[in-house]
Structure formats: structure tokens, C-alpha cells
Amino acid sequence: MVNENLVKDVVKEPYKYGFVTDIETEKIAKGLNEDIIRLISKKKEEPKYLLDFRLKAFKKWQKMKEPDWAGLGYKQIDYQDIIYYSAPKQKEKISSLDEVDPKLLETFDKLGIPLTEQKKLTNVAVDAVFDSVSIATTFREELAEHGVIFCSISEAVKNHSDLIEKYLGTVVPASDNYFAALNSAVFSDGSFVYIPKGVTCPMDLSSYFRINSGDSGQFERTLIIAEESSSVSYLEGCTAPMFDTNTLHAAVVELIALDDASIKYSTVQNWYAGDEEGIGGIFNFVTKRGKCLGKRSKISWSQVETGSAITWKYPSCLLLGEESVGEFYSVALTNNLQQADTGTKMIHIGPKTKSTIVSKGISAGNSINSYRGLVKMGTKAKGSRNYSQCDSMLIGDEASANTFPYIKSQQPNSEIEHEASTCRISEDQLFYLQSRGIEFEEAVSMMVSGFCRDVFNQLPMEFAAEADKLLALKLEGSVG
């Protein structure tokens, strides 16, 4: 069918963040063993408890097996062939942004991330992570005025050790899963956010992750703590250069919300996805979990996943506090030979907890796009509710869309509703739009955008625009 081919062409879009920054970096030797972990810990001048945490995690990891239940087909990862620490060389201590290597600033500029505070186009504070280390965090002083701590996790280890010791690994324990254990052993940097009691964070916080070297993995760790009655909106973006080798990205994100606190965590993931033949691309194995500890606390995940060769990611909520709320809004677009296995887990433990899941998957090319989710009502989750909706859109007859919802209830006084559907870009709708004078390309883009609207509406303003642009970019292109 002509239209089908057109749609296929339309979803092909070259990756525009694939450049490499030529910068001198400090790397440690390849491989993973106790000495490497001690070395990373030493380089970061970490206290003993953290080194112990790492070593314990490493011991557990050695005993674990790489999970294969998602049925993702990828070639064996050689964990000894990865560099676990890579940092751009720079002066020992940076007192202001002027001292950051201009090449680095240029890189983030190219990516559309303004690090220099003069460019206050948006009211967003940014923590930029380049390979294994955090380069800069903007708007610190303004945030500090409100008592908000926003810095890289390495700085937090030095300056707010008590908080790290209290919360690190409490949501995602080191032995949680294979990749979380690996991350716990070798994590290099990431962001740390602490919102004190009663504070509404005055601006959106954002982390930007950039992998630059082809042979080092990125293992960042993010920890966000929202104290009583506080609220924060956090955004995360990621890109990587084009290499024909696969790069491993295994991150852990932990969120903690106390009484009446609310955390909104949004991600636009655009790692390099590999080329049309599936060569290269990032292996994205991420563990994200939030704990609604307090009463009436709320954690909301929203994500737009367009990149990575393999995505294995299930942002989850543990709903412990009475009347706590968990939300998950996701758009996953896969093309060529990409594989995305993503979804969420909503574990209702406390009474009167509520959760909503809205997942939209678009699969094109030869890609595989799966939704895998768990909704569980524990025995004490009296009066709890869940609503899930997962829709898939298929473009072309080689793409595959799967839905695997696991639903478990042990509490009669709770309600779970799940629905899923699959559709395609219908020719009738295309014809209708085209007959009204709308270009084919624009019509496809409109329909995809309409399909994803429920999720885009949940993204913060800046991100919604970026996400829409990103999908439009992927859908823009070669039709003449």
C-alpha cells in the first residue's frame, strides 16, 4: 500500500544529537572488580559507609543472573569490557560556570540546554551530567534561598552525608535487581534534590544526561526527597553520540514523598537508538521507583521514550501512605530495530490509595514495543482504586506491539480496571484530513499527536513542547 510506505518513510528521521565532543577525558581502566569500585569511591572521596554499600552491592551482583524474562534479544554484554568511570578533565574545583571547559558548555548549548545563567530563557534549574560526572548545576543560590538542595549526588555525599546515608537504597535496595545492583556498585554521579518541609520548589529542576565516550557506561543515581507538604517538578533529558558499539546505561532513580508532598518526575529519553540495521545504540536498563511514604503524598511519572536500542524501564510507585496517589503517563515510540519493554508497577499497600496508568505505544519499522505493568492490591489496601489504559499504534506490518498487564488483588474492597486496545493510522482518517487540504505528513503527525495527547497534557510546559517537537521530528522528513 502506498500510504503504508509513506508512513514508514515519514517515521525515519536522522538522529541529530549524534555528535561527539572532542574533549580530554580521564578514564579508568576497563573492567569491573573490587579494586575498580574502591578506585571510583576514592576518586569521589567517599565516606566508608558508601564504599561498603558499593562493595556489598557488588557481591550481590556477582551472585545474580542477568534477567531474561522480558525476552529482549540483544547480544551478550561483556561487563569487563566497559569503562566504569570517565570524566572530562578540568580544574580541581570550579567556583563559577566561567571555569567550565567552554567545549562542554558548547556541547550542552548544541543540545539546547542553557547552562550559562545569562541565558535564563526558561525558569529551569539544570544539573548537567557528562559521562560519569556532573558538570554544573545552575540557579543554586536562588534555590538555596528557599532551602532547596539541588546538586550532584557526589556533592551531596560530601555536604549532606546524613541525608544520603538515611535514604540511599531505601527505595531501590542494592539487591533489587541485576542492573540496580550493578548501579549500586559503580554509580558515578547523578542528581540529588531535597525539598524542605512546606516548600513549593520555585522552579522546575532538570537533569541532563549526556554520554560522550563510546566505551564507558553511564551509571547515574538520582535521589529526590520531598519533605512534608512540599512539592517539586523534576525533568530529565538524555542524549548520546552515534557509535556503532552498544553503550550501557543502567540508572537508578529513587523518590521519597512524605505526608502531603508531591513529586512530579518527567523524562524525555532520546538516547541514540542505533542505525537502521540495529547497529549501535544505547542499552537503557533503568530502575525507577518512588515511595509514597506519607499520607496523601503523590508521585507522578511521565515519560516520553523515543531513543535507545533497548529500553527496559518500569517507573513504579509504592503506595504506603493512606490516600497516597501514584500516576504513570507514558509515550514510547520505537522504530527500526528498537525494542522497548516499558511500563509501571503500582503497589497499593496503604488504604484508600489511588493510581492511574496511561500508556501509549507507537511501533514502526521492525521494532518491538511492549507494555509490561503490575497492579497489586495488598491485603491492607482497603478502598483503593486503580485505572489503567494502554493503547498501541502500529505503523507498518513488521512492527510488533505487546501488552502484558499483571493484575493481582488480595483486597475485596478495592477496584482495578484495565483496558487496552490496538489500532493503526486509519486510511479513512488520513483521507479525511487530506481531503481538507492537510498535507499527508502533517496529517500523520496530527494523528500521532492526538493519540499521545493524554500523556502530553501531563508533561510540564517546556517538556510538552520538546516532546511534541521530538515526535514531530521523528515523523518529519523524507516525504517530498
Partner: protein, 405 residues
């Protein structure tokens, strides 16, 4: 689990048919299903080993059915008891398949069996002796309803196999009743082959007594323009698994499934369905209902597989569950695996208790709470029961369910 030891050491049967040899050979290296696999991970280990605890028995005691007596208007067959079957009338014929025909068909099926996925069938075929395999060839129309019984005797494990070919343009109504006696295990495997334009209204009622266990596996292959309707009901088993495998081998076929499982006390009943669309224009409408009370556990896992060849498939699957007690649990997992793009596929799942507003409404009209609950349950059950052929007239299932529960 003496039986597993015997399989391992090949000391289970002195005389083995060729099929038994093949199946035993497949099981020998790995005699138990992988407990971590999707299909078995929720299976209660103690209960599963209860199933295997009874000693295997090729013979069983005289059949004593709680089901109403046979009448002129139906054909009743009991697996293991009927020796010669031949009904040849003007409009129709029901003949026994020759041993060769049965062997050939089963061998074909086994060749694609997976040790884990088809474990229940492999066990069944390892155990079923010739006498306990009933093979039929049905042809024609206006056939009287057929009733087929399988049962297990107390304190033993019995295996029964049913193979039925429906020839072209044939139209059949069939009810299969699986009865578990006190402290017994029944392994029942059923194979249907529906030729072009044939239609089968199939009912499965599995009804146990205290401590009875059941492994019930159903394999259906549908050729084009065939229609397969299944109404099923499983209740009163300590442990029961109902595995449904349906393949629309050339597409263009219709499948309707309405199933229900009711668990009480500490029972565990599960239903696993796999619907494979292997051609275009396939149709599926499936609803599975579970009711779990006391400390019981009900499980449903359904997968719909739509490969590239199956364009214009229209499939829907709904899992509706009632959880009536604090200690009961329900697991459900409806899943879709789709590669074709021009398809309509959807699924849904709900878990809740009886609707409080409806109960309140009825109570304001003077209906007692017990009566109101019964009314709600009866409407919940009725949708499935009305889909089970034959039995609905003869055996008042609704009454049985409401009053026994």
C-alpha cells in the same frame, strides 16, 4: 510424587504404546514443568504435588454420575467404558477413529509440543492407555447433543484423552463433564479438529468433590469458516488447571469463549488460554469470569497472538473478577502480542466486589442483603451458564452454584 520418580526411571508402565513412549521420553529428562515460567509460577506447589501424589491407575471404578440420567434425545459416552461406538443415521454418522488415525494425529500434535507449555498434555498422553483414549469422527447435521464423561476414582490418578474430528459442514453440540471424586486426580486432554465450515458448540463442566484435582487441557484447531463456541465452568476442586489452546490455522474462523471458575475454601483454580491466529480475518470474543471466596485463589492468564499474516483480525478478551473475601486472591493477566497492523484487538480486566450501589438499591426495595447478593451473583453466573449447551436444560447449574455456595 512417586509418579515422577517412575517417569524418570521409566518404570511407570510395563507395556507402552508408541505415543506413550514418545511422551515419556520427552518428560524423562525434565519430568516437571519449570515453576518459574509464566505458566506455572502462580501454581500452588503443595497443591500441584497433591495432584501427583495419588498412585496412577489405568482402571477405574464404575461410573456413578450426579448428572441427570441419559435420555433418548442425547448420546452419552463415557471415556474408558464404551468399547464400540457407531451411530450411523440418515443425517449423520458418529464413528470411532481407528488407532492409526488417532496415533497419526496425536503424533503430529506432539511434534510441536513444548515440554513446559504442553506439560499437561505430555503427562496425559504418557499415562492414557488405549482404553482411555476415545477418538471420534463426526459427520452430518441435526446430530443429537453428545455428552462425554471423564472421571477419576477416589485415591487414584486417572488419565483420559478425547480426540474428535468434525468433518466438513458438520454441526455439533457437545458437553464434556469432568468429575472428580473425593481425593482424586484427573488428567483430561481433549483434541478437536474442526474442518472447513464445521461448527461446534462445546460445553465443559468440571465439578469436583473434596480433595479432587484436575488438569484439563483443551487443544482446538480450526480450519477456515469454522466456528467454535466454548462455555466452561470449573468449580469445587482443591486444585484445577484449565489450559485452552486454540489455533485458527488458516484464519477466517470464529471463536467465542465464555468461561468461569469459582473458588472457595483454600481451593486454587486457574485458566490459561492461548489463541493463535494463523491467517487473516480471524474473530475472537472471549470473556473469563472468576469468583474467589474464603482463602481461595483464582488465576486467569490469556494470550492473544496475532502474527503478520493475521491481518484484519478482530479479537477481544475480557477478564472480570469478583473478590469476595479478605483472604482470597485473584491474579489476572490478559495479554496481547501483535505484529499485524490492520487489526482490532482489545482487552480489559476488572477486579472488584459486588456492586454496593446495586445492593443498596435492592435493599431499599425490601430485598434482604443475602437475597440481593444472590441476585447479583445469579446475573454474574447466568451470562456464562446460558452459553453452556445441553447442560443448561438438564442440570440446573445456576441453582447448584447459588445454593451450594
Amino acid at each position: 510424587m512417586e509418579i515422577i520418580e517412575k517417569i524418570k526411571t521409566n518404570k511407570l508402565l510395563e507395556y507402552q504404546t508408541e505415543i506413550q513412549k514418545i511422551c515419556l521420553h520427552k518428560l524423562q529428562s525434565n519430568p516437571l514443568p519449570n515453576p518459574k515460567s509464566e505458566l506455572w509460577r502462580l501454581s500452588n506447589k503443595t497443591k500441584f504435588s497433591n495432584f501427583l501424589d495419588y498412585s496412577f491407575n489405568e482402571k477405574d471404578l464404575k461410573f456413578d454420575s450426579p448428572y441427570p440420567n441419559n435420555s433418548q434425545s442425547t448420546i452419552r459416552l463415557i471415556i474408558g467404558e464404551n468399547c464400540q461406538i457407531e451411530f450411523v443415521e440418515e443425517n449423520y454418522s458418529i464413528e470411532q477413529l481407528s488407532e492409526d488415525e488417532v496415533d497419526k494425529y496425536i503424533k503430529e500434535q506432539i511434534s510441536s509440543f513444548d515440554q513446559n507449555e504442553n506439560w499437561s498434555d505430555l503427562l496425559n498422553l504418557s499415562l492414557s492407555c488405549k482404553k482411555n483414549i476415545l477418538g471420534l469422527k463426526v459427520n452430518g447435521s441435526k446430530i443429537p447433543p453428545i455428552e462425554i464423561f471423564s472421571h477419576a476414582s477416589s485415591n487414584s490418578l486417572n488419565a483420559k484423552t478425547l480426540v474428535i474430528f468434525l468433518e466438513k459442514n458438520c454441526d455439533v453440540e457437545l458437553i464434556q463433564v469432568n468429575l472428580g471424586k473425593e481425593n482424586s486426580s484427573l488428567s483430561q486432554s481433549t483434541f478437536f479438529f474442526l474442518e472447513e465450515n464445521s461448527s461446534l458448540n462445546h460445553g465443559v463442566v468440571s465439578y469436583g468433590e473434596n480433595g479432587s484435582n484436575l488438569l484439563n487441557s483443551l487443544n482446538v484447531i480450526q480450519q477456515k469458516n469454522s466456528e467454535y463456541n466454548l462455555g466452561s465452568l470449573h468449580f469445587k476442586f482443591n486444585y484445577a488447571r484449565f489450559e485452552i489452546n486454540i489455533k485458527q490455522s488458516q484464519g477466517n474462523a470464529k471463536t467465542n469463549i465464555k468461561g468461569m471458575q469459582i473458588t472457595k475454601k483454600d481451593e486454587q483454580i486457574s485458566t490459561y488460554t492461548k489463541i493463535d491466529f494463523n491467517g487473516p480475518n480471524g474473530f475472537l470474543d472471549q470473556i473469563n469470569k472468576s469468583l474467589a471466596d474464603d482463602k481461595s485463589h483464582a488465576i486467569f492468564e490469556g494470550s492473544i497472538i496475532v502474527p503478520k499474516i493475521a491481518q484484519k483480525t478482530d479479537a477481544s478478551q475480557l477478564s472480570r473478577n469478583l473478590l469476595l473475601s479478605d483472604l482470597a486472591q485473584i491474579d489476572t493477566k490478559p495479554q496481547l502480542e501483535i505484529i499485524a497492523d490492520d487489526v482490532k484487538c482489545k482487552h480489559g480486566a476488572t477486579i472488584s466486589q459486588l456492586n454496593e450501589e446495586e445492593l443498596f438499591y435492592m435493599r431499599t426495595r425490601g430485598v434482604t442483603l443475602a437475597e440481593a447478593s444472590k441476585l447479583q451473583l445469579s446475573s454474574y453466573f447466568q451470562e456464562i451458564i446460558s452459553f453452556i449447551p445441553v447442560s443448561k436444560d438438564k442440570w440446573d447449574l445456576l441453582d447448584k452454584l447459588l445454593n451450594e455456595n
